[in-house]
């Protein structure tokens, strides 16, 4: 036993190892997959990213090539640094710094040594780069903006982030993805489909040639061109008006829901986010906390709707037959309500108002009274209120518009549950929520929602979801943009309101803005605490509101 013990142990171990090897290498070994084989280099071929045109077929966004010098620090051999630095037009100090930085990152993974070569530099370098081991040139496709406006609408592209890759297996490191605006919303159309080339590598990591004569290669598919609804001239004019102002202009074509312009003040030149100084510019933009140009105020800022909201209050009152077009409510400069005799001031100048003059003079008392009557009708406050709130929401307020922007805000149209929670021990009623009647209090809207509301008024009872896409080459736009959203208020009532709205410009609060020859219907507004200055298409200071539709167009 003692004699054989060692022999047995050695033999048993040996057999154990052989079984284990058999398991690993023969039994559990996976079949060959070209995608997983490191000996085959997988090179993605990137198709042309789709162009973006405006509604008048003006080319807004196209592509431009750009060349980066890449480095694999581990492969860099002794090179003539002087000559190399001269070629790249950098100093030796910069050169050493870049080498140090890239080496610290990784010796084996390629990093960008110098980004965005000029075309002339590329021409010279392309021939000589072979001399410098460890360096090579990589072509990239950059976006080219043929316009200086609409940065917030167009968005921008950038390299995919880690989370992009995790969410969508299509992407791999270094790919370009839309990060904002149309570039993001219509990424799937714009990007096309990248192709794959399989290249056989040898032991020394050199490419020998295409694998299997290219039979396994996948061709790339070019991205689709897009036409967007923006009118770039209008957009440009809007941005000019908004220069150095904080605010937003939204113009929607009511009969289609197409967004003609979406101006966010202040805007920035989309070309800032392309090219060598991209990150510097980006951080400058993001640091600007006063104007925050990267934030699209047309979509993201919420504020009390103010007087334009009276249109809806009036419409609902008419529809609920609380008033008719001839009902008269008198105003003595303020609206006194409640046991404690609270008062809501009114700037209409007093007097007796019917619905037309109430709108044209923006009479607070009038709308406070009809709101109170609407909510208190038959005494069932909670039910009435919910019905009211639901109708308000049917104008696209207080919810996501479900448009084709990647960003947006819901705004706020409270329902009865909200007030039940707000006043748990207290029976709330019309007077508690009276501020709603003039678009203040808990009511919050975004500029695009307000513009959309007006487009529903202009259409007299329906709206198309506002959208930015007009045409996708080779595909139709989403069904939801071709579908009417109906509001349950009769056309007759809309017509009555419209008379009021047009009087705004003839005799009411907006008469200074009347433009002879164009019949404008609109409503100005200022939410409390905000300075009231009116202007067509314009907001001269923050937070003043103006909505209108002339025969066709609607502005806020």
């Amino acid at each position: 036993m003692r004699r054989n013990f060692f022999f047995i142990i050695v033999s048993v171990s040996s057999i154990l190892f052989i079984f284990r090897l058999f398991y690993l290498q023969v039994y559990a070994s996976k079949p060959y997959s070209i995608y997983e084989d490191n000996a085959i280099r997988k090179v993605f071929t990137y198709p042309k990213r789709g162009y973006i045109f405006d509604r008048n077929n003006k080319l807004l966004v196209s592509n431009q090539p750009s060349y980066d010098i890449m480095i694999i620090p581990g492969l860099v051999k002794k090179i003539d640094t002087n000559e190399f630095c001269n070629l790249l037009k950098i100093t030796k100090k910069e050169f050493n710094k870049k080498i140090q930085k890239t080496s610290n990152y990784s010796l084996k993974i390629p990093s960008v040594f110098l980004a965005h070569l000029s075309k002339s530099d590329f021409g010279i370098l392309a021939e000589k780069i072979r001399k410098y081991k460890g360096f090579y040139i990589q072509k990239r496709n950059l976006r080219k903006y043929n316009t200086k406006v609409g940065a917030n609408v167009l968005g921008y592209v950038a390299e995919v982030s880690r989370s992009n890759i995790e969410k969508d297996s299509y992407y791999s490191t270094g790919d370009i993805i839309g990060k904002q605006g149309v570039e993001l919303s219509y990424e799937k159309y714009l990007r096309g489909n990248k192709g794959i080339k399989f290249i056989q590598k040898d032991r020394f990591n050199r490419d020998i040639g295409s694998y299997n004569n290219g039979n396994n290669d996948v061709n790339s598919l070019a991205g689709s061109d897009l036409t967007i609804t923006i009118d770039s001239e209008l957009q440009e004019y809007g941005e000019l008006l908004m220069s150095n102002k904080k605010g937003a202009i939204v113009a929607i074509e009511p009969e289609s829901g197409e967004i003609l312009s979406l101006v966010s003040g202040i805007s920035y030149d989309p070309n800032l986010l392309v090219g060598r100084d991209k990150s510097k510019n980006y951080s400058n933009l993001i640091k600007d906390s006063i104007f925050s140009p990267l934030i699209d105020k047309g979509l993201l800022s919420t504020f009390p709707a103010g007087s334009p909201f009276k249109i809806i209050v009036g419409l609902i009152a008419l529809e609920e037959k609380i008033i008719n077009k001839n009902s008269i409510i008198s105003c003595n400069g303020s609206y006194i309500y409640g046991k404690n005799k609270k008062s809501m001031k009114c700037h209409c100048g007093g007097g007796n108002h019917n619905i037309y003059s109430a709108i044209s003079n923006s009479c607070n008392s009038f709308f406070a009274e009809v709101y109170r009557k609407t909510i208190n009708k038959n005494g069932n406050i909670s039910e009435n209120y919910d019905k009211w709130s639901k109708t308000v929401k049917s104008f696209g307020l207080g919810k996501f518009l479900n448009n084709d922007f990647p960003i947006g805000k819901k705004g706020m149209i409270p329902d009865s549950d909200f007030y039940d929670k707000w006043y748990p021990d207290f029976k709330w009623g019309a007077l508690t929520t009276l501020s709603n009647s003039i678009g203040q209090g808990e009511i919050l809207v975004t500029p695009i929602q307000l513009a959309n509301m007006m487009s529903a008024v202009a259409n007299k009872g329906y709206y198309y979801t506002p959208h930015i896409i007009k045409e996708i080459a080779g595909d139709s736009i989403d069904y939801r943009f071709r579908n009417k959203n109906i509001i349950n208020i009769s056309e007759q009532n809309f017509e009555n309101i419209e008379i009021g709205l047009s009087r705004v410009f003839k005799s009411g609060t907006g008469k200074l803005l009347n433009i002879p020859g164009i019949e404008i219907c609109g409503k100005s507004g200022t939410a409390e605490n905000f300075t009231k200055i009116k202007g067509k298409k314009t907001q001269l200071t923050d937070h003043s509101i103006f909505v209108a539709y002339a025969p066709k167009k609607i502005q806020k």
Partner: protein
Amino acid sequence: MIIQRKNFLRLDWIIISIYILLVGFGIGNILSSSISGEEVSILDLNTLYGKQFLFSVISIMIAFITIYIDVKFYEKFSSIFYFLSIIILLSLFFFGKRVNGALSWFPIGSFNLQPSEFVKITVALAVSKYISDYQTDLKSKIDQGKLFLIVLIPIIIIILQNDTGSSIVFLSLFLVLYREGISQNYINSIFGIIILSILTLKFSVITSLIISVFTTALYYLLKRKSRNKILKFFAVSLLCLMTSLGTLFTFNNILKNHQKNYIKVWLNLEKDPLKIKKMEKTILYNLNESKKAISSGGLTGKGYLKGTRTMGNFVPAQHSDYIFSTIGEEWGFIGSVFIILLYTSLILRILYLSEIQKNKFSRVYGYSAAAILFIHFFINIGMVLGLTPTIGIPLPFISYGGSSLIAFTILLSIFIRLDGNKINEW
């Protein structure tokens, strides 16, 4: 001189052939695992394979010298070698250089020398000398104690130098002691401790206690001739319990974090997915990558210098401790089995030759050499295949490293020398 020449012819050419095959294979694989795009020049000392080639030339020269030296030299001077090597080992505390946390290197020029590799030889010689001594009686507790001391002193020093992996190698000499007649109980205890430790860590103290009590009871029930059965049964059971508790204590309080992790990985103890994820980036990474590389080799391998994972340097230390993964990938199942069979035949050949030695010193030394080679082979390949815990010791003759190649060469050539003299009278 005439006698010397005759002796040369009597060298065991099977061992020598296997040795040359393994060393050659080693250089080839180090080349494969370390080049990245440059021209191959075997004499370039800036490359790992160039260095290994130089080491192999030095090793062969030293082997010639070892074989040329008179056979009695090794036996006579073995105690001096032993004490000398202990002193050198101790001097590491003063002049040593720390590499990867282990204080086990002497910097000599641009090379580092690892004395613990050479201590394996001197301990083998010392053990052989002591056992083969006329006055040594392995049944005597005092002599046993002395023998254990010979083995334990270097183990303790090396553990203090934070090179636990190397110290474990010396435990293989118990196989030799067993062959030479120490009590069966020692071997039983060692295996018992290993099994109990695994049971304790994997399951619980209770499980290991139940199993050990049951086994002991069965043993004493079946064993007829034994006095004080019940007393012995309780004593053994108590020992088992103490072993379990001791294991738990050692694991929780003495082992360092990385050592604990190696054991956790080996026994699959970690259940926290977050920690497992973290391990996958550190210690599990090596293991997973080496298993992947081996697995990707398939039946026939990807071909020499065509291993894609080897080329991409996926497995860290793939030229040293993990070199077997390179073999697995490029040579496949067939090549790996070939290497395993080469080692097995080498060890079995040494064992066979040891058995037929007339001289006791030669026999014990042969056993020791076989034991040392075996434990390296077992732990290294077991680790790469994910069967044994991660213990960083080299694969003899193949892994990159001057000290280990030269030391293993000396270890082997001394045996070749002793074996070549088996017919001569001493």
